[in-house]
Subunit: 416 residues, 2 copies
């Protein structure tokens, strides 16, 4: 326990310091926090002081960090789900649907097409081609909805056609990605043990139906009665209990618990000041303590030393290319088809290319499920870092963002 | 992990439900929450459905709950420490000092005097008489400062002589109790292994000096510069990192980590809106998720079935008598000596007799350090429950509290 508390204090401190340094260089805070995790891992700290590293992060000491970080991620994905606004969809169906489709179909298709190449080289034995392709496809198609929402909000773009489209795309991308991930997880866990695949998929369908046709309407009815009141402690607690229960159920089905948390978030009543209250009340513990633990765990798993030969570096470049071309390309095509100008289309592409924290979550799930090898995991983390880091410079180049205001915003936006 | 998440959702739900029931009966929410924990434990749920209980709470499953609950308690004691206001002491030195002294010396003396009787019957082998007496004394002398502060605040009593005295007494009691506990823990851990006792005590002294003469002045200097600003995320994170580091250091010395967290709270800059900000930002996660886990763990350790014979029940009554006579008696004597009227003195006694959550924390420390047997632990939990439960009725009987307003307040005061 002593070690855990000491690790936590180190992680919290380093995360603040690195976040601050990132902001000083005009980058999003999340970049710094992820980099802080990598600093603390075997790639850098473990290289410089191997014996101290072994003492501070002995092999068996990750379990407790994992518990805390999982609880943090459950809360985080519950919030992410609670903020997705799919209601807008009804208003501008055709335009938004098309561009969101292309911005997920293209990267997913590219990745699954390239999956056999990766599977031969970077997949631990025993993982089927189909789940591997699903995971790779999902990893390439993720958009960091929370970061995006914040960038748009800051620039007052969220009500413009471009902003609304970007938000909708990101929201739909997130839902689609998590659904695909759920299916992928079901394959993996069916392979390993327990009931057959069709049985798990059936349970998944029953669970989805129960959440959308029972829990969600109940939440909405509860909300219509009391939407004028503040979100009470009790109601918040009840919703957190539902989120936890939903996470436990999905885990029992063989899907990842984070999917359940995300889905519970989607069923959170759409009362704006309740949504805000949920975020405000959980934000500090999450972004100051629990999420940094997740970044640290990610960093502890990232082994830059595995990217030490030209071949692997070229593969990393290929991953990056696939991810950027797929996501940006898809978004740009979609935007052009819906009649946007080139500049708006490029902006949309740059925005949706942001990977952020959600990408890392998916990567860790793939790693823990033994779908990605440590090398592929590291390559994908590099991709996530690069794509997130280039968003602000790209926007600047497009004249959309003046760096200063974006910089200020990202300091306030602890959530990534 | 699946089991942990499911346990958490159950615990959160039951805690809300029991808190609500307690309020419906005009009791403090914390009573309900503790009782919820006992309901879930072997005494009740384990009796009614032993096989389901064994499946839901198998022996090995407590470690993860313990991790989460310890993190919660570290944050909680950091907040408790941050809210203690010892500055007032300078203004009304003599009166407050005397009554706080008596209200801690009497229960402590009574308990240590009775300690040999308990030691023979309820102490696991190998615990020395001195640390046992220290732990028993501290357990009897605890006042629930947070509950008290809230009750006084609600009734606008905190600026009256009585209110200020009560707050000061509780604050000094808390500091004294944790210091004595630190000394007790040092005895225990020195007995077990590692460096000698005097060495640990020396380290404890060095640590205390470092906190009060380096960390605290630094915090104060930091505060004087920026007291007009809100508490930034970064500053809050820095302070949390200090609290965690302080907890880790005290644990390494052989004192309990919660003592370090409490002490870091004492060093928190005394800027009222920062203190409030600290509480507001951590309150929800703490009182809705992390503290209920602690209550559940306490309940899982409480075995009412051990109090099944008349003898043990009589001993429980004796514990209760010692605790109430010591604490109320001490407070009343102190108040009378400082010239308070009988009614005020009785009120002060009733207020300081509240044990609340802090008492349970001390009991769990004693239990984990194998100082209290499960039977003594259960007896003390019953004492804590009873003394906390009688506070409101006692105040009502004294005409100080009209039930309704107190009831409303305790629903808002999630912290105990």
């Amino acid at each position: 326990m002593s070690l855990l508390i000491f690790q936590m204090s180190m992680i919290v401190l380093l995360s603040i310091a690195c976040g601050r340094i990132a902001r000083a260089f005009g980058r999003a805070q999340v970049i710094g926090e992820i980099f802080g995790g990598i600093l603390m891992g075997p790639s850098i700290f473990g290289r410089i002081a191997p014996s101290l590293f072994a003492r501070l992060f002995p092999q068996g000491s990750f379990a407790a960090l994992e518990v805390l970080s999982t609880v943090g991620l459950i809360l985080f994905l519950f919030i992410v789900g609670s903020e997705l606004d799919l209601e807008h969809l009804r208003q501008q169906k055709t335009t938004a649907l098309l561009s969101s489709l292309t911005s997920i179909v293209l990267p997913f298709t590219l990745a699954t097409a390239a999956a056999p190449l990766f599977h031969a080289r970077f997949s631990p034995n025993g993982v089927g081609r189909l789940p591997f392709a699903l995971f790779l496809g999902v990893s390439m198609s993720i958009t960091a909805f929370p970061v995006l929402a914040r960038i748009l909000e800051e620039r007052n773009l969220q009500t413009t056609p471009l902003g609304a489209t970007a938000l909708l795309c990101a929201a739909l991308d997130d839902v689609a990605a998590w659904l695909l991930l759920a299916v992928g997880m079901t394959f993996i866990s069916a392979n390993n043990s327990g009931p057959a695949l069709w049985f798990r998929l059936l349970w998944l369908a029953i669970y989805l139906a129960a959440m959308f046709y029972i829990v969600r309407p109940l939440g909405r009815r509860f909300a219509t009665k009391r939407a004028h009141n503040i979100l009470t402690y009790e109601a918040l607690g009840l919703m957190l209990a539902i989120a936890l229960a939903s996470a436990a159920v999905t885990d029992a089905i063989g899907v990842h618990p984070l999917f359940g948390a995300f889905l519970a978030g989607l069923c959170f009543p759409r009362v704006p000041h309740w949504q805000q209250s949920l975020r405000v009340r959980l934000e500090s513990t999450l972004s100051l303590i629990l999420l940094p633990l997740f970044f640290a765990l990610t960093g502890l798993r990232t082994r830059l030393d595995l990217l030490n030969d030209l071949r692997t570096l070229l593969w990393t470049g290929f991953v990056l290319l696939l991810a950027v071309v797929g996501k940006m390309g898809g978004a740009i095509i979609g935007a052009r088809l819906t009649g946007q100008e080139w500049r708006s289309s490029l902006t949309l592409g740059a925005l949706l290319n942001t990977r952020g924290l959600v990408e890392l979550i998916v990567l860790n799930i793939a790693y823990n499920a033994h779908v990605f090898s440590p090398t592929l995991f590291t390559m994908m983390v590099v991709m996530a870092l690069v794509t997130t880091a280039i968003t602000v410079p790209l926007l600047r180049a497009l004249g959309i963002a003046d760096g200063s205001s974006l910089q200020v915003r990202s300091s306030a936006a602890q959530f990534n």
